[in-house]
């Protein structure tokens, strides 16, 4: 049976050449993302800034949004937003945090219930008071920082410090770009978004570690290969695996995006961006070349030109093919 080969066996792309483009581009995108975060802001959900979220379903046909807006508006609860949520009779009402502490939030939701009465089914009600929202926000931020530090320590333990630092820069860059994406698309930013960011971090590191593992192995075996060539060889060798895995994860996320429903929509969209788009790009074009700048492999024996390791070039197994001069050279190099 002919098997699917998305990536040919003997790719020899020069990924490292692009670092002169990819680094400035990434730096620029990061700055844009940070600016977006500060000036455009994130669409913080009630988890982080408090308030009330009510999802109602009108019992008698599609909702009259204007009328509902007027009804809720007349309750004088401050900033109130209503929008359709999935189906024409599904309305999402969002009320900003009321002054007066936790009790005021309760009073507000009671007013809304009284005002809308029996005309709607309450699909979902969420009320978050000021004490809990500040906690969730600080826990969320602390969590992200803690995860970054913990993983940094773990990588330092398993690899050399340049690898740990390189991985961190690449993956924090991932997070920055994802936050920029969330700011741009005005996607809901709540506790599940923090979950998405942490998963993107973990998963993107997953990717980077696989490449680093190969680089480490190559560093041991090919002591005289110049870094760009060695890194290219590593990335090319792991390319097939990377693509296949990214396809499978993308398929899982696609299924979630298409079928998972509105409730986790923001979560899945964020994951899709962070893992599939950005994660792949940074693992190849940032995490690997950055090792050059961090001085990995500098202490090895000097850079005499070496033939490429067998992994990158196409090889026929010696038993079957006729031994040619390149093959003999490679056999010597392997020893």
């Amino acid at each position: 049976m002919r098997l699917l080969r998305i990536v040919p066996d003997d790719t020899k792309f020069d990924f490292m050449r692009f670092r002169r483009i990819s680094f400035p581009v990434s730096a620029m995108l990061s700055i844009v993302a940070i600016l977006l975060f500060f000036y455009h802001g994130l669409n913080f959900g009630i988890d982080f800034i408090g308030g009330t979220l009510v999802e109602v379903q009108t019992k008698a046909g599609p909702a009259d949004l204007a009328k509902m807006r007027a009804t809720v508006g007349s309750l004088h609860l401050g900033d109130v937003q209503l929008q359709e949520f999935g189906a024409p009779n599904d309305i999402l009402i969002r009320i900003s945090e009321q002054p007066g502490g936790d009790q005021a939030q309760q009073a507000a939701i009671q007013k809304v219930r009284d005002a809308l009465g029996d005309s709607v089914d309450y699909r979902r009600v969420e009320v978050v008071g000021p004490s809990v929202s500040t906690e969730l926000l600080s826990y969320g931020t602390i969590g992200l920082v803690l995860a970054i530090v913990a993983i940094l320590i773990y990588l330092w333990f398993r690899f050399e410090w340049q690898f740990a630092l390189g991985a961190m820069i690449a993956n924090v860059h991932d997070l920055v770009l994802t936050v920029g994406f969330m700011s741009l698309t005005h996607i809901d930013f709540d506790l599940t978004s923090i979950a998405a960011l942490l998963t993107i971090l973990g998963y993107s590191l997953n990717d980077t570690v696989v490449i680093y593992d190969r680089i480490r192995e190559m560093l041991r075996r090919y002591k005289r290969l110049p870094m760009p060539a060695l890194l290219n060889a590593s990335v090319n060798a792991t390319l097939s695996r990377s693509i296949v895995t990214h396809v499978t994860v993308a398929m899982s996320l696609l299924a979630l995006l298409l079928f998972g429903g509105q409730a986790i929509h923001s979560f899945t969209a964020t994951m899709m961006f962070g893992v599939v788009l950005v994660g792949t790009y940074t693992s190849v074009f940032i995490a690997s070349p950055i090792l050059i700048y961090l001085g990995v492999g500098v202490g090895r024996m000097g850079g005499a030109e070496e033939p490429e390791p067998p992994i990158v070039a196409s090889t026929a197994p010696p038993a079957l093919g006729k031994p040619t001069a390149p093959s003999a050279r490679r056999a010597r190099a392997r020893r």
Binding site: D102, Y122, V132, I151, T199
Partner: protein
């Protein structure tokens, strides 16, 4: 790497089987599962976002606990100094302490000694820790008594425990199904009631402290006079049920709600208005009898949560320890008050700081969405793996299927909660679990290209890949662990399934896939690897 002794192989298969079996109770209805032995009954709990229901996070008012402690200390100081006949001035509660000035310098030592006796040693793990629960200090005749922080924290902890008990009773009275009431942190309580659609009544019931006192009305002046000047030292102004209504009530409590043994809603025989009938225990009945005997013809006040709900005149001594409370009750409010009195008063007021309610419609929709996504995702991945790796893809699919079954098994065993993000976590784990197999297979392909024989290539593929699998999964696991720690509710469900998924993935990658491939190799003794 490909060599498995019979014992090892059997152990691996058995472990996988046992873990998967734990998932079985989830597929049978509750009625059947009840008859099975208790260790076989563990199931996955559906989160509220899938089941529908209400979740309320209540905060215990710790300031109230501190205030009550200080007030109790204040009254103790008064009692001790009066009994010892030591004159004093300026007895007051200030900030976090009680202070009192002893008039005669000669009394100071005596006073300090007597007041120090009020301080109790704090219990520790092995006897007393040496710390006391009240710090007593004296400076120039001014004695300051400060409850220590550990003592306050202990009191708060007790208050929370007591609150949980009382909430349990109140919730039971409402007839709610299987509520879960748990402590959350130092001073919060999480109440989760599956299936509850409108928590309004529950919130009302939990929001009331329900402290009931019987006290005498102070007739020495009218409430308006007291408001204008200063109320007498032992009385205070309290509001009635209608706005603007004021009463001057003595601070001294004749009988408290703690002595109630029963309360029932009913109807007044003459007016047919809803009322609440109550009955005291013997100690309360005695106190009530004594109080009513001494005060015939005078009004006494029934005070609920510092509001006067009724102030009837004592017509005759009540010796039987029974009575009724009438006020502006509706049938519902009379019933609610009876529930509150039966369950008991909360030691401190509760505030609702977070509320999440999910209706059954949304819950069912979420379950359906989760299921569809899971099947679709699994189908896509399985087809892709088969198309890309052929026979070995099939092995990977088997391993991943067992992986998912094991995830359910572990979740069942832990009695963990499954939420919608949790289902997303499982779908994601399928995508990630495949990665371990992909790493192995790609490595095998490479080894074949480098010229190894089939069996050596397979063996080398496994050897080289496993270290990488470990490293890469651990980083995701750290992220899941942090998320578990900082998350709550549905997000925590996601962290749990992700974390469990990684553990089962590591297990299946290191053992099951290898086992299947090893078995195939032994049976077929291949010359080439069909990858």
């Amino acid at each position: 790497m490909l060599f498995f002794t019979r014992w090892k192989a059997a152990a691996i298969v058995l472990t996988a089987l046992v873990v998967c079996l734990f998932a079985v109770p989830n597929f049978f209805p509750e009625s059947m599962v009840q008859h099975w032995p208790s260790w076989a009954q563990r199931r996955i709990v559906l989160g509220l976002d899938l089941q529908g229901g209400s979740s309320l996070l209540l905060q215990v008012d710790t300031n109230s606990v501190r205030r009550e402690r200080l007030q109790a200390l204040d009254e103790d100081v008064l009692r001790v100094l009066r009994e010892a006949r030591i004159p004093f001035t300026g007895r007051a509660v200030r900030g976090d302490h009680v202070e009192v000035h002893i008039t005669r310098p000669t009394d100071v030592d005596n006073a300090v000694g007597k007041l120090r006796a009020l301080s109790q040693p704090m219990p520790g793990f092995l006897g007393t820790t040496g710390q006391r629960d009240v710090e007593v200090s004296e400076n120039g005749g001014l004695i300051t008594m400060t409850p220590t922080e550990p003592a306050i924290i202990e009191r708060i902890r007790q208050a929370v425990d007591q609150s949980i008990e009382i909430i349990q009773r109140r919730v039971n009275e409402l007839g709610l199904v299987e509520p879960s009431i748990q402590r959350e942190g130092a001073d919060r309580i999480l109440v989760q009631v599956p299936g509850l659609q409108d928590p309004t009544r529950l919130k009302e019931i939990l929001g009331k402290t329900a402290k009931l006192d019987f006290r005498m009305v102070d007739l020495s002046m009218t409430p308006e006079q007291a408001a204008a000047t200063h109320p007498p030292e032992d009385s205070e102004i309290l509001e009635g049920q209608t706005p603007g209504e004021k009463y001057l009530i003595e601070k001294h409590v004749l009988v408290s709600g703690g002595d109630l043994v029963d309360a029932q809603a009913g109807f007044d025989q003459q007016t047919s208005q809803p009322i609440v009938n109550f009955r005291f225990n013997s100690s309360g009945a005695q106190k009530f009898a004594a109080a009513t005997q001494a005060n015939v013809g005078k009004p006494f006040a029934i005070v609920l949560d510092n509001k006067v709900i009724s102030a009837p005149v004592i017509r005759e001594p009540i010796l039987g320890g029974q009575g009724q409370i009438s006020g502006n009750f509706t049938v519902q409010s009379a019933n609610d008050l009876a529930i509150l009195l039966r369950a008991g008063a909360l030691p401190a007021p509760l505030t609702i700081v977070e509320e999440r309610t999910v209706g059954p419609g949304l819950g069912q929709d979420s379950i359906n969405a989760g299921e569809h996504a899971a099947y679709a995702g699994a189908a896509l991945v399985i087809i892709f793996m088969f198309v890309t790796y052929g026979l070995f893809g099939l092995f990977a699919n088997i391993a991943v299927t067992i992986n998912v079954a094991m995830i359910f098994g572990v979740l069942s065993f832990l009695g963990a909660t499954l939420t919608l993000p949790g289902i997303a976590g499982i779908v994601l784990t399928v995508g990630i679990a495949v990665d371990s197999n992909v790493l192995i297979y790609e490595r095998i392909r490479e080894e074949v290209r480098a010229g190894r024989s089939a069996i050596n290539a397979i063996d080398a593929g496994f050897t080289r890949a496993l270290a990488t699998i470990l490293d890469s999964n651990i980083t995701t696991f750290i992220a899941a662990a942090v998320l578990f720690y900082i998350g709550s509710g549905p997000v925590r469900g996601f962290a749990v399934t992700l974390g469990v998924g990684i553990l089962t993935t590591l297990f299946t990658a290191f053992t099951l896939t290898r086992l299947i491939v090893a078995y195939w190799v032994r049976m077929r003794r291949p010359r080439t690897v069909p990858i």
